[in-house]
Structure formats: structure tokens, C-alpha cells
């Protein structure tokens, strides 16, 4: 009996491992190798004439000078501000995504019965116009005589000559929210749509108000979706460098980590510095990811119990 169970368990492990195998193999072949390439750039050198990267593939000959410089500039130097600013922008934008995206995802997933198809199409329609082009359109909308100011001028108490594109943090945050909220809504929708209606009905039948049902039943059940949506939006935002560039016309006041990475990797003679910044950003983000993983595992275990 025990032997049967064990072999069944082993077979089941093998089955699920097989499912995961193509993905794992893909990531090993292309992703891990890429990370190694970034390390080879960060700890490598540069052609003195052509200024092209000369990666150092042998870890024994790695040169850590660029990484040391970057660490100096990040901890207690000017680059530290950029990391903090990036964190603040991304944090605010995530908050914006939740405030804007949650109600929309909730409505589409749970309330919109007749128009759901139409709504889903409308949600993904902006994807057809390139992100960069939509940002240019925002730049148009936010010009001093653009539509945003014209619409605001109908409201009282608004300075109708407000300049939006002057390197203000809120313009960048609005731009980030605008750009990434569709990526937030879709995964959240996929989870919310699944929540068992009977649980909500049960909450209501027990006399809870709909708000209280939402807080005590729907919201907790939607946490996995909220987490997935956040992960999918936060992380690309951390590496974003065109939203702020387009919406502040390159103001140093909105410089994010992504801009510095882009500059050093694409347009300088110090790609090592860019690659070091990348490794550092990845290390920061990895801490966040481990937190996500721990929560996922805990929920999964709880669900199985």
C-alpha cells in the first residue's frame, strides 16, 4: 500500500515536472545565460577604439571597479536619489493603478453581464496604438493649450494655465498609471471573475452589508490576483525610461533608474556601469519577488490544507 502511494506520488511529481520542463529549459537556455552575459559586461571591459563592450566570460578575471563606483554613487551618492525617486514614482503609480484598476476589473468581472465582451475589447483597444505614440498623444493633451487644460478650465479653482510637462512628478505618475493600468486590470480581472459568487451571496445572507462583504469576502479572495497584477506592473515600471522622458521632455527632475541604465548601456563608453546598475536593480527587485513567492506559497499551502 505504502509502496503504491509512493510510486503514485513519484509519478505525479514526474508529470508536473514535465509540464514545467519546457518553460524551465527555455529560461535556462535564454534567460540565465543572459544574466550571465550581463555579469560578463558589468565585470568586463571596453574596446579602447570602438568603445564597444568586451564581455569577460571568465569569472576569475572579473573586474569589479565599475560595480564599486556604482555602489559608491548609490549608497550615499547622487544615484541613491534616483533609486529613491524611482521607488516613489513606482509606488505612487501602483497606488494609482489599484485605485483606478480595481473598480474597473471588479465591475467587468462581476457586474457587467451584458456588456462584458464590449468592455473587454475596449480595455485592450489602446494596446493597438503603440505605447510611445500614446505618450506623444499625452504630451499633446497636456500642452498649455491642450485639451486637459481646456477641460479643467470648466471647473472652478483650477489654474487654466497650468504647465504639465515641466518635470513634475505627478505628470509622470499619471503617465505611468495610464500606461500600465491595462496590464494591471487584465490579470486582476482573470482572478476576480473566478471568485465563487456563492461565497459572496453567503456573506450577504449572513447579514453583512455589501461593503462589508466586499472587505471580508471578495477582497481577501482577490489577493492572489492583486499580487499578480502588482508584480506585472511594478517591475516593468522600475525599468521604464520613456514615460518620464516623453512627459517631462527630459527634465533631470524626473530621471529614473531606467534612464541611467539606458544611457550607460546604449550610449556611453562605460557599459560596465550600466550593467552594474542593472544587477543592483535586479537585486532590489528580487527581494520584492521573494516576498511575493513566500506569500504565494503560504496561500497555496493554506488552500491545500
Amino acid at each position: 500500500m505504502t509502496a503504491v502511494v509512493t510510486s503514485g506520488k513519484r509519478r505525479s511529481t514526474a508529470v508536473w515536472a514535465t509540464f514545467a520542463l519546457p518553460g524551465v529549459a527555455w529560461l535556462v537556455a535564454f534567460f540565465l545565460v543572459s544574466v550571465y552575459a550581463v555579469m560578463a559586461v558589468a565585470f568586463g571591459s571596453v574596446d579602447p577604439l570602438l568603445r564597444t563592450t568586451v564581455p569577460q566570460w571568465n569569472p576569475l578575471q572579473w573586474d569589479y571597479a565599475a560595480m564599486r563606483n556604482v555602489l559608491d554613487r548609490v549608497f550615499g551618492g547622487d544615484l541613491g536619489h534616483v533609486f529613491v525617486r524611482t521607488g516613489a514614482f513606482v509606488g505612487s503609480a501602483l497606488l494609482g493603478c489599484i485605485v483606478v484598476g480595481y473598480p474597473v476589473a471588479y465591475f467587468v468581472a462581476r457586474k457587467a453581464h451584458r456588456h462584458r465582451g464590449l468592455l473587454l475589447v475596449a480595455l485592450v483597444l489602446p494596446f493597438w496604438i503603440s505605447y510611445l505614440m500614446r505618450m506623444l498623444a499625452w504630451a499633446n493633451l497636456l500642452q498649455p493649450d491642450g485639451y486637459v487644460n481646456r477641460i479643467l478650465s470648466w471647473l472652478p479653482f483650477f489654474d487654466t494655465h497650468r504647465t504639465w510637462l515641466d518635470g513634475d512628478w505627478y505628470t509622470v505618475v499619471i503617465g505611468l498609471v495610464y500606461g500600465y493600468v491595462p496590464f494591471f486590470i487584465l490579470p486582476l480581472y482573470a482572478t476576480l471573475e473566478r471568485i465563487d459568487g456563492r461565497l459572496i451571496e453567503a456573506g450577504r445572507d449572513l447579514g453583512a452589508s455589501s461593503f462589508s462583504t466586499f472587505v471580508h469576502v471578495t477582497l481577501p479572495l482577490s489577493i492572489p490576483g492583486l499580487m499578480a497584477a502588482s508584480v506585472i506592473t511594478i517591475l516593468p515600471m522600475c525599468g521604464d525610461y520613456y514615460t518620464n522622458t516623453y512627459l517631462s521632455r527630459g527634465s533631470p527632475r524626473t530621471e529614473m533608474v531606467g534612464n541611467q541604465i539606458d544611457y550607460f548601456l546604449r550610449n556611453s563608453s562605460q557599459p560596465q556601469t550600466g550593467a552594474s546598475l542593472v544587477l543592483l536593480l535586479m537585486a532590489f527587485l528580487f527581494v520584492l519577488m521573494v516576498y511575493y513567492l513566500v506569500i504565494t506559497v503560504r496561500q497555496q499551502r493554506a488552500a491545500e490544507r
Binding site: V28, L32, V33, V35, Y36, M39, V46, D47, P48, L49, L50, R51, T52, T53, V54, P55, W57, N58, P59, D78, L79, H81, V82, R85, Q143, P144, T163, L165, D166, G167, T245, S248, R249, G250, S251, P252, R253, E255, N259, Q260, Y263, F264, R266, N267, S268, S269, Q270, T273, V290, L293, V294, V297, R298, R301
Partner: protein, 389 residues
């Protein structure tokens, strides 16, 4: 549960290290083919190849009409590979990632490295019947002795573009570079070029320092401090969109290349805004930085004869004029001087100074190639400026 978490982390690290260590075994050796300088041009009188002619260039940096005309005239097709930076072209060429015949827009300071590393071939001037149309200034330029490997494509000086309807031209003339620092009434409408050397050197020129290739840390630090000042005093922007922002009015004064006001007047003026609103100032000869982009033929070009014919085609006065009318970037041809371009109505009279004169080119300051250490000084300063000071 706690132990499993720790276990997981340990496992991940182990796995990462294992896989990482395996990588060097996977790859034999970087495909770094050290090439040597090519010194022999192609033979005279060869028949052109069938194409397609492959060009590396910035997007929209040559008139599509000119390309179409060339295709028709020679019965070949032309393919343009888009690059976004000068160094991207170098990286891709040197890695063998792209195969090309014509490198359309090489920065001066890159020409030498490409020649030295054998990525350009000498031009056979017997194919370049229109070579005589080029300004004499470029017969023996500092970056390419004897014009062996390149011909100039476009050229431009660095100055200030501004709105004449908002700032009195007399003030800009009087202030010079200081006009940018003095524009405190136009917060947020002031910009510098998104190019570390251009912007830092501007700050040096403002203080009367004309060694534009300095690698003196103190001088660069002072330039950085001067630029940082602009962040608070005028809420400075960093971009190369002056050609668009000035005509559209989102910018009032900007460090620009001299071609920018011209292309702005041709392509970007909103309806009802006259070209008269655009103004340009540049420093006097001797303090004026003038640069140019160059066309060369890649050493392993599959269509070298056709590439020569293409270059010669671009040097034709009429073709160049057509190209200019689309681009607004000045070709380095004797005939297309300020008088001619103004006469033809391309350049408004009040933007005459956007066309550098022969004397200005002769006395121009130029950005020479710096060592990587030298460049790093500029790049680090620039990175600091961009972080907000």
C-alpha cells in the same frame, strides 16, 4: 515552513551558480575578429552590382524621395537599416550582426576608429564624379586625411535657438550663451542638447574656455556645476527636440544644432505661425563648434561599386537640394550656400546664420575622439547632471 523557505533560497542560489559556471564552457570564445586597416580601394571602371544596396542610417535622415529616385535610376532596391545612436551602428557592424554597404551618418570622432579597425574601405574617387561639388573645407578634414574614406553628408554648428516673439534678439546677441542662464522668466521652456559633450562644452565656452577636448577634471566639474544651476534657475530640459519644440512654442530658448531652426521652419511650424518667430544665435568664429556626419563604405560591402554610385548620386547638386528640402540638414556642397538656399526660399533670410560659412568652418572648434578614460569623465558628469545634480 520556515526551513522550506530557506531551503528554497539555498537551492536557487546553488542552481544559479551551477548554471552560471557552466556558461563559459558553452561558448568557445568571443567572435572578436580583430580586423586591420583596409588601404586598397576597389578597382576603376567596374560594373555596378545588382543590389540591393544596404544602408545604415538614422530613421528619416535621408529623403525617401531621393532614395526612390536612385532606385529608379539604377534599377536596384535600397534597404535602410535603422540605428538610433552612432555607437549602435559601430557595435552592430563590429559584431557582424549587420551586413551593410553604406554607413550613412558617421560622427567625425568615430571615423578614425572605424578606419583603424578596418570597417571602412578607401573610396575610389574615379567613381565620384561629383566630388568637386563638396566645400573645399572638407578636402582634407582632420578626421580623415585626404578625404580617403569618407565624404561629408551634413554639417551643423551648435548654438541657441529661440523664439523671437518672446525674447529680444538684441538681448540674445548681447548675452550669448548666458541667455540660457538668464532665461529665468521662461522656466521649463529652456533646454540643452541631450549629448554630454555638447552640453558640458557649452558651459565651458560660456566661461571663455575654448579647449573643447579638455579632460581636466576641474574644468568638467565646473561645467557640471554650471549646468546643475540651470535645473533650479530655469527648470532646464534635456532633449534634442528643439527643432520641434521651438516652432510649437513649448520651448522658448534651447541649445540646438544650426539645422534645427531650419528643419523646424520647413516641417514643424503650426498653422498660422510665421517662420519669423524662430531665431538662432551662434558664437563668433573661433568659438563656434561645427560638426558633420559622414558617409563611408563598409569594408566588407557586397555592393561596393553601387555604394560609390550612391554616394556620387548624393553629391549631385540637384539631388542634394531635393534631400535638403525634405531634411533641413545642410549638405556640405559649395553651390548650396546660404545665398542659394535663401534665394530658393528654403531658408528664411533671418535664419541665414544657420548656414555656417566657409570661414566659420575653417576656424571651427571640433570634438576630437577622446580616450575612454577621457570620455568617462564627461559621461559621469553627465550622469550626475541627469540625476538632478
Amino acid at each position: 515552513m520556515r526551513s522550506s523557505r530557506r531551503d528554497f533560497l539555498a537551492r536557487s542560489v546553488q542552481m544559479g551558480v551551477l548554471l552560471g559556471a557552466g556558461v563559459p564552457l558553452l561558448q568557445a570564445c568571443g567572435g572578436d575578429t580583430q580586423r586591420t586597416k583596409v588601404s586598397k580601394p576597389i578597382a576603376d571602371g567596374l560594373q555596378p552590382e545588382k543590389g540591393p544596396l544596404r544602408i545604415i542610417n538614422y530613421d528619416d535622415y535621408v529623403s525617401p524621395d531621393v532614395i526612390a529616385d536612385f532606385e529608379r535610376e539604377y534599377g536596384v532596391s535600397v534597404e535602410i537599416t535603422i540605428i538610433t545612436t552612432d555607437s549602435e551602428a559601430t557595435t552592430k557592424l563590429a559584431s557582424g550582426a549587420i551586413q551593410a554597404d553604406v554607413h550613412h551618418s558617421i560622427a567625425n570622432y568615430t571615423v578614425g576608429a572605424l578606419v583603424e579597425r578596418g570597417w571602412l574601405q578607401p573610396l575610389n574617387k574615379s567613381y565620384l564624379t561629383n566630388r568637386g561639388n563638396v566645400l573645399a573645407n572638407f578636402d582634407d578634414p582632420w578626421y580623415d586625411a585626404g578625404s580617403t574614406y569618407t565624404v561629408p553628408y551634413t554639417f551643423f554648428g551648435t548654438g541657441l535657438g529661440y523664439r523671437r516673439d518672446r525674447i529680444d534678439p538684441a538681448d540674445v546677441e548681447a548675452d550669448g550663451w548666458d541667455a540660457l542662464w538668464n532665461a529665468t522668466g521662461f522656466k521649463g521652456q529652456v533646454s540643452v542638447l541631450d549629448d554630454e559633450r555638447e552640453a558640458l562644452v557649452m558651459a565651458m565656452l560660456r566661461r571663455g574656455l575654448t579647449d573643447v577636448n579638455t579632460t581636466d577634471q576641474a574644468v568638467i566639474d565646473q561645467a557640471l556645476a554650471d549646468l546643475v544651476e540651470l535645473i533650479d534657475s530655469v527648470n532646464v530640459k534635456v532633449n534634442i527636440q528643439g527643432y520641434q519644440d521651438l516652432p510649437e512654442g513649448t520651448s522658448t530658448i534651447a541649445q540646438v544644432w544650426s539645422a534645427d531652426p531650419v528643419t523646424g521652419a520647413i516641417n514643424y511650424l503650426p498653422e498660422g505661425v510665421p517662420a519669423e518667430v524662430l531665431g538662432f544665435w551662434h558664437p563668433p568664429a573661433g568659438e563656434y563648434v561645427v560638426a558633420n556626419d559622414n558617409i563611408g563604405i563598409v569594408s566588407n560591402a557586397a555592393n561596393p561599386v553601387l555604394a560609390h554610385l550612391y554616394i556620387d548620386y548624393l553629391l549631385d547638386n540637384a539631388v542634394s537640394e531635393k534631400n535638403f528640402s525634405y531634411l533641413g540638414y545642410l549638405p556640405a556642397l559649395t553651390k548650396l550656400d546660404a545665398d542659394y538656399l535663401i534665394g530658393q526660399g528654403y531658408v528664411p533670410e533671418h535664419l541665414r546664420n544657420c548656414v555656417p560659412t566657409s570661414e566659420e568652418i575653417a576656424q571651427a572648434l571640433v570634438f576630437k575622439p577622446l580616450s575612454n578614460e577621457g570620455r568617462a569623465l564627461y559621461e559621469t558628469a553627465w550622469s550626475k547632471f541627469k540625476t538632478g545634480g
